[in-house]
């Protein structure tokens, strides 16, 4: 079973990679105007107050005939990408399931499994968004890129053979705490994709033409829509993270180590992420703070999550035994 899981893992990464290539194909060949039309419609009513992008959007989206245009190379590439993406998600689930069966427990016992699960949640949320808002499909390029990178990193630096849990992990809190943290991390992960795209697109709309902003040229979704999606994903993940990391975590720590909060490096960084995401919500709720600034804070929050996932596990030594990278 463990073997099977590893093979499925390789296939999963390949499938995401293939999806990424097809998304890239759509990105390169797709006529942005056409995809843009679908996405621009909600923009009219959504763009407003804080978003500096509102004037730009209409210029960028040439008026199109109402009849559906026939699919071109880019469109096909995008459709194939979406199918591959769903396939990759299924393989991803298979990887997790076989891993869980092999270990005879929830597959969240170490850093490798943790990344595997968090990326799965991210991927599932992304596919959910994709199904509800097909116009956002082009974001798949970046979400699959993020997934490939993270899964690759998991396999290369964090791989751990299937093993049992240490006694500290034998607890209901293990399931409650770790699952909620994994789910919220996954959503934060996928929330960082529209956040980044918003920053790029918005920068492009504001006339910046240096490297990362040039990517915004081919992003059909209006900046304001990206910003909204960013906020909704974060607003959903934040309470979950609050519960998982700042309530269930301390509850378990109290039962297990005797103190609910002890400034263990993992705890420190969870605290930092939480504070930064709270700052994001504040910034977004403050009219005098620009939406770009707020979104940068969200991205910064994601950097702190990555720091917690990789940095803390690899550089610092703490009580969170499941954090140990492969040994």
């Amino acid at each position: 079973m463990a073997e099977l899981s590893n093979q499925l893992m390789a296939l999963t990464v390949l499938a995401y990679l293939a999806a990424m290539v097809c998304y890239a194909g759509e990105y390169a060949f797709g006529k942005r105007s056409r995809i843009g039309k679908a996405a621009a419609r909600p923009a009219r009513q959504l763009v407003g107050a804080g978003a500096p992008a509102d004037a730009e959007v209409p210029d960028d989206v040439p008026v199109q005939p109402v009849s559906p245009p026939k699919p071109g190379r880019g469109e096909w590439s995008g459709r194939i990408a979406a199918v591959l993406n769903v396939l990759a998600l299924v393989l991803h689930l298979g990887t997790l399931a076989t891993r869980g069966i092999a270990a005879d427990r929830m597959p969240w016992g170490n850093m490798y499994e943790y990344i595997l699960s968090a990326t799965f949640v991210g991927s599932a949320v992304w596919v959910g968004v994709l199904l509800r808002r097909p116009a956002l499909r082009h974001l798949g390029l970046f979400s699959s890129l993020a997934l490939v990178v993270l899964l690759g990193a998991a396999a290369l630096v964090a791989y751990t053979p299937v093993g049992p849990l240490v006694p500290a992990l034998h607890s209901y809190w293990f399931i409650v705490h770790v699952s909620t943290v994994i789910i919220s991390s996954g959503i934060f992960l996928i929330g960082a994709v529209p956040a980044l795209m918003f920053v790029i697109k918005n920068g492009y709309d504001e006339g910046r033409r240096s490297f990362p902003y040039t990517l915004g040229k081919r992003v059909p979704t209006p900046a304001a829509v990206l910003e909204r999606l960013t906020f909704r994903l974060h607003a959903f993940a934040f309470p979950l993270f609050t519960f998982g990391a700042l309530i269930a975590g301390p509850l378990w720590a109290e039962a297990s180590w005797g103190r609910y909060w002890g400034w263990d490096p993992k705890e420190v960084w969870a605290f930092i992420s939480w504070i930064v995401y709270a700052a994001y919500l504040h910034a977004r709720a403050t009219p005098s703070v620009k939406r770009t600034v707020a979104t940068w804070i969200a991205l910064f929050g994601f950097v702190t999550m990555l720091m917690n996932l990789f940095g803390v596990n690899l550089f610092f030594e703490g009580l969170h035994s499941y954090a140990n990278a492969g040994d």
């Binding site: 107050a49 006694p167 500290a168 309530i247 005797g258 400034w263 930064v276 504040h282 910034a283 005098s288």
Partner: protein, 541 residues
């Protein structure tokens, strides 16, 4: 985001007054401090200030690692210390930031609470003159009922949907229906921020009134302990706790069970104990890693285990002494290190004088499962092939210098200056349980056997339960705040122009007061059926 940015701002500006400059400055600083921008900056500062605590070892977390850091970076360590780098979360600058944040929070939520209470008591304001300027607008449509009846049924519909609704009669014989919903958003937000305050206060009280101690508890009736500050290997009382405040209880461990996977990873620990609280009798109990022993005003947590060695030394005059010494594990396989020191031995019965140069100490490594190759690391954490490697020293152990000495190592200074000499050979002496080792002077050391010990963390935090309640309320408030939506809806019902036929004309407008993508749909659902010509009031959107 077609949102009218209409949020409660912090404190309204008071009417201008010729104030004295000091008062003006104070008021200005206060307003600065309680602004959202300052809150943002303080949040950031708090996040940044927390980082060093994960980079440098913290005294409160692991004292050993701090001294290791001193050894590894002798130049840097004093500087880190000077800036509180080893006690980040107790440092003045960290405290400064969170106290400022705390003040800012108070200054921010109190006015908001006042405004919100006021808002809760006020009725929804009357419709603006031009409903068609609002983000949502449903143009006038006719209904067959009289204006009064139409307004009444609209109000009923809104009330059923939990809108706070107010019907006003207009001078032209028409009615306006004003409705507002979503007060829970602000209520939730305030609840969340007050819960944050409660948690911050709780942390403070827990720190002041809490205490904790760590202790190694070796199995056996003779090794029990009663709760007292002197009984701890290390302990910390909160500033407002005295040693006399510690609750009275005694614990002795009758059994300790550890089981392991074949890889050596621990599978489970179980400590079986007898406890006595206050003046009661001993009762049996047991606890494991995630399931502490909860006593009155103290919780006993099992955080680790190891082996204590029982050694018997018979000196050159035939006097025997027993020691049970815990050895500290140095790896996951329970390779353990420790010492047994016998300062009061080899006392000549004739003179009854202690000769400091004849004290004896043993340094050893214990392997619960020794390998076949004679390497000094254990192969497995359970005792499958126990072996103890000992080195003997004789001389002045240096125990009386008055300095607190480690009980897990011999005094290196004494060995270096030659006062304490190694008396065994180059290679440490292997001993099996029950084995005896005769030293050069005829004295003997017997390895009687081992006992398991449990590492206990004993703690009391008086505000813990309160904090949990605060956190749970805070979470509920957070969700209300994030997912609630404040919005207003107005209907203007005028008499139809054609008075003969009766009937009325209804126009509607809607204003989302916060970011609310679903508002258009809700508005359509409410106004669609309601202004349709005399059909059902409610229908599918």
């Amino acid at each position: 985001m077609t949102i009218v940015e209409d949020r409660p701002e912090t404190a309204e500006a008071p009417p201008p007054r010729r104030a004295n400059p000091v008062w003006g400055l104070l008021r200005n600083s206060w307003r600065q401090l309680t602004s959202m921008r300052t809150a943002l900056i303080l949040l950031f500062l708090l996040a940044v200030a927390a980082i060093p605590g994960s980079i440098f070892p913290q005294t409160a977390v692991n004292r050993e690692r701090v001294s290791q850091y001193y050894t590894a970076h002798p130049q840097l360590a004093p500087w880190v210390d000077r800036f509180g780098g080893f006690e980040v979360y107790a440092s003045p600058w960290f405290a400064a930031i969170y106290l400022l944040l705390f003040t800012s929070l108070v200054g921010c939520v109190l006015p908001r609470l006042r405004d919100h209470l006021r808002a809760l008591r006020t009725v929804p304001p009357d419709a603006p003159k031009r409903l068609d300027r609002l983000p949502q607008h449903a143009p006038a449509r006719t209904r067959p009922e009289t204006p009064a009846a139409a307004a009444e049924s609209l109000a009923r519909l809104l009330r059923r949907r939990m809108f706070r609704t107010r019907v006003r009669e207009l001078p032209d014989g028409g009615f306006s229906v004003a409705a507002e919903k979503g007060y829970l958003k602000e209520t939730g937000n305030l609840l969340f921020h007050f819960a944050m305050l409660a948690v911050l206060v709780g942390v403070g009280f827990g720190h002041w009134y809490g205490w904790h101690g760590n202790r190694i508890l070796v199995a056996g009736e003779d090794q029990g302990f009663c709760n007292a500050i002197t009984q701890y290997d290390d302990s910390a009382l909160g500033p407002w706790v005295t040693a006399a405040d510690l609750p009275k209880f005694c614990i002795r461990m009758t059994d300790f069970q550890a089981s392991y996977q074949s890889t050596g990873q621990p599978r489970s620990y179980l400590a079986t104990v007898q406890v006595k609280e206050g003046s009661g009798a001993y009762r049996g109990s047991s606890f494991t890693v995630n399931d502490p022993l909860r006593l009155h005003h103290a919780n006993v947590h099992l955080i680790g285990h190891g082996y204590a060695l029982e050694l018997r030394y018979t000196d050159r005059y035939g006097v025997t002494q027993n020691r049970v010494v815990p050895f500290l594990p140095t790896d996951g396989m329970q390779t353990s290190e420790g010492v047994a020191q016998f300062p009061d031995v080899n006392i000549d019965p004739k003179t009854n004088q202690r000769d400091d140069s004849l004290q004896v100490g043993f340094e050893g490594v214990y392997l619960p499962t020794g390998g076949t190759d004679g390497s000094a690391v254990s192969q497995f954490p359970a005792e499958n092939n126990p072996v103890l490697y000992l080195t003997a020293y004789r001389g002045n152990l240096g125990l009386d210098v008055g300095k607190a000495a480690s009980v897990y190592a011999l005094n290196r200074g004494q060995i270096n200056n030659g006062e304490l000499k190694k008396i065994s050979g180059e290679r440490p002496q292997p001993l099996r349980p029950g084995g005896t080792w005769t030293l050069d002077d005829g004295s003997k050391l017997e390895f009687v056997g081992t006992r398991e010990y449990a590492t206990l963390a004993i703690r009391y935090d008086p505000t813990q339960a309160l904090m949990l309640v605060g956190a749970a309320l805070g979470l509920a408030g957070l969700m209300l705040s994030l997912f609630g939506h404040r919005r207003r809806i107005w209907f203007r019902v005028s008499p139809a122009n054609d008075r003969e036929a009766g009937g009325s004309v209804v126009e509607a407008g809607g204003l989302p007061r916060t970011d609310y993508p679903g508002f258009a749909a809700e508005f359509a659902a409410l106004t669609g059926p309601a202004t349709d010509d005399g059909h059902a009031e409610e229908g599918t959107p």
